[in-house]
């Protein structure tokens, strides 16, 4: 758990503006930081996450690249081993797959393969998640793929505060890091200190304290879990909601500590359930807290299919507060609520 928390009286800022603010402050403070990606320059990024940076830092430090994901990440890898601190953007997380060799075979492994000599302080930003009817190639949540690769660090901010804090930590980290933004959270507003601060990597946040069950929720699912927790409070169930914030390295300690108190656990993410990060989290809970569990660890994730286009199907695809609440009732052996 962390001590750095948003103070309630801090200024409010949108998730997407937390990105550009963090980058602007990092770039002012460190000449070796630069940004490259498709439409990140004058256009300010297709989601507006990089607005203002081109105006302030110009084309030497804010580079509009060709549509060349593999070369974009490669540019970052090469520049990073050469002493710069690159931030490269892959517009949609789906396109990470196009760049996967540079990410998984190069960035992640250089240091180890070279016997610890190379330093790869590269940050990759990308936008994940369904909800915009953007269909199967613009909506994926592929964090498990990245977490599976030793050498990468993966963060998934769920609040504007952590968007800024985690991005700062990632850029300052001397390893390749991936910052996953969620498209449906871009407009979320929350307290964000104006100064430069870090959310430490590898530290989970207890988003809500409770004694009956631990819900570990990833990314956009944190808000859904909090909504579910509010509903369940009305039924006399106190949920503890944990936002891991960093998925790799994973803060097992905070999660396990919580489960030892609540004796119940539910893991929820937007990614496909099979082989999702929830499988790893559930396994760790049962390894570390088996004797404390009163029920099997439950998991909620997307069904095993690509993200469908039609809003009618996409709604069924993405887990929501109602499904999380139902999952909690299941773990606790309560009667299901028929909607």
């Amino acid at each position: 758990m962390t001590t750095t928390e948003a103070t309630p009286d801090a200024r409010e800022l949108m998730y997407l503006l937390a990105v550009s603010e963090a980058l602007a402050q990092l770039m002012r403070a460190d000449e070796s930081v630069f940004l490259a990606g498709e439409d990140v320059g004058a256009a300010g990024g297709v989601f507006g996450t990089f607005s203002g940076l081109f105006d302030e830092f110009g084309q030497r430090r804010v580079i509009d690249t060709p549509i060349s994901e593999q070369a974009i990440v490669g540019l970052g890898v090469g520049a990073a081993v050469s002493g710069l601190r690159p931030v490269v953007d892959i517009m949609f997380m789906d396109f990470v797959l196009v760049a996967m060799d540079q990410i998984a075979n190069q960035a992640a492994k250089l240091r180890y393969m070279f016997g610890g000599q190379a330093k790869v302080p590269l940050t990759i930003t990308t936008s994940a998640g369904a909800g915009l009817s953007a269909a199967a190639q613009h909506s994926q949540s592929l964090e498990a793929l990245l977490c599976h690769v030793p050498g990468l660090k993966v963060v998934y901010p769920a609040t504007p505060y952590d968007m800024k804090g985690l991005l700062v930590s990632c850029v300052r980290d001397d390893n390749p890091t991936i910052v996953i933004m969620n498209k449906m959270l871009l407009g979320a507003v929350g307290p964000v200190p104006e100064e430069l601060y870090e959310t430490p990597l590898g530290e989970a946040r207890i988003a809500r304290s409770g004694s009956d069950i631990t819900i570990v929720a990833v990314g956009r699912m944190v808000d859904e879990a909090l909504t579910a927790a509010a509903t369940l409070a009305g039924e006399g169930v106190e949920c503890e909601v944990i936002d891991p914030r960093t998925l790799q390295p994973f803060d097992t300690e905070t999660v396990v500590g919580s489960v030892r108190r609540t004796n119940h656990a539910l893991v929820v993410h937007e990614a496909v359930r099979f082989g999702g990060i929830g499988a790893e989290i559930a396994a760790q809970i049962q390894e570390e807290a088996f004797d404390y569990l009163d029920a099997a660890v439950a998991r909620i994730g997307a069904p095993f299919c690509p993200v469908p286009f039609s809003p009618a199907l996409e709604q069924l695809y993405v887990p929501d507060a109602a499904r999380i609440a139902e999952g909690v009732r299941g773990v606790l052996g309560m009667n299901p609520v028929v909607a």
Partner: protein, 325 residues
């Protein structure tokens, strides 16, 4: 000089324009979910090329794919239903605009991944050569797509294996909000062709006859086993990268847009057809009206169509039969 069927070329272009403008209006009034990349302004490219193809030839497309499907004979009803996410759509509501396809028409799909259709066209060409069935494949792609590895690997492989594939670049000078000249050091896309042992031809993409003739010429070589060729069609999209607006944007000037519109592929071709006496103004009007009536009918069909059933979610992830056909 190749012959062309002016009435056919005109009709293909008008059908694309009417479908796209209508789709644009629907999306502006929030009647279409998701991302919409419209083809308005570029109609001569898909029309001129597809008119030079046989029905069983194949094409691969891009995120801006409606025009290619219409030009290949796509059904407005199933297209509109797909755009609305309905069960009666081409993809049963699973794919939407960016994945629209009609395999029966040889349209192997729009694509959400820039450049990804190009290797797939090469694969289709490989199958055609393998089967020795005389078919060719055409890869449509944007100027920006030629910056991605998939394009280069596919072009090289097609050259090396002398595959019957035509690469058609729709050079509209922009990839999203970035100018082409800022993303490549060459003047014309065809400069990439010699590196892969291909002939490259530049054509005025606002002139449907020029496109048609160039495609016909290039396809002759492709069909006769000379290996791939690259056609670069200089064109322009009237609307924004996504959706409609297009005017008063910061990344390009309205003057530039107006200059291209002066050379509108449909209006200029209508003038030419009127002059030659092939198509009177009234007859041209009738083509527009007919297309509009068909699109209106498609909207009605789509709106009355059911949404996919919840059970559809898990259908079609795998081929459940697995039986050889």
């Amino acid at each position: 000089m190749t012959t062309f069927d002016g009435i056919d070329l005109h009709r293909r272009m008008v059908r694309i324009r009417v479908f796209e403008e209508t789709a644009g209006r629907l999306s502006e009034s929030a009647r279409l979910p998701g991302f919409l990349h419209l083809y308005v302004g570029e109609e001569a490219v898909a029309s001129g090329v597809c008119a030079a193809l046989n029905d069983d030839d194949q094409i691969t497309s891009t995120h801006r794919g409606h025009g290619h499907l219409v030009a290949k004979g796509g059904d407005f009803k199933r297209m509109m239903a797909e755009l609305m996410g309905k069960a009666t759509g081409y993809c049963h509501g699973k794919g939407g605009s960016m994945h629209i396809n009609d395999l029966d028409l040889g349209m192997l799909g729009a694509n959400g991944i820039v450049g990804a259709g190009v290797p797939i066209a090469v694969g289709a060409a490989f199958a055609n050569k393998y089967e020795d069935n005389g078919r060719v494949a055409v890869a449509f792609f944007g100027d920006g797509s030629t910056n991605i590895g998939a394009f280069h690997e596919a072009a090289n492989m097609a050259g090396a294996l002398r595959l019957p594939v035509l690469f058609v670049c729709e050079n509209n000078e922009y990839g999203e909000y970035t100018r082409r000249c800022d993303t490549m050091a060459i003047t014309d896309i065809i400069e990439r062709a010699p590196g892969y042992g291909m002939r490259g031809v530049i054509v005025d993409g606002m002139d449907v006859v020029a496109v048609h003739e160039a495609a016909t010429g290039a396809l002759e070589g492709v069909r006769s086993g000379n290996g791939p060729a690259l056609l670069e069609c200089k064109t322009y999209r009237y609307f924004d990268h996504m959706g409609v607006k297009g005017v008063g944007v910061s990344y390009r000037s309205d003057t530039e847009l107006e200059e291209w519109k002066q050379r509108d592929p449909i209006r200029s071709f209508e003038a030419r057809l009127a002059e030659s006496g092939e198509l009177s103004a009234d007859a041209a009007r009738a083509v527009w009206d007919e297309a509009q009536a068909e699109v209106d009918g498609a909207i009605e069909f789509a709106e009355q169509s059911p949404l996919p059933e919840p059970e559809a979610l898990l259908v079609g992830v795998y081929n459940e039969t697995g039986a050889p056909s």
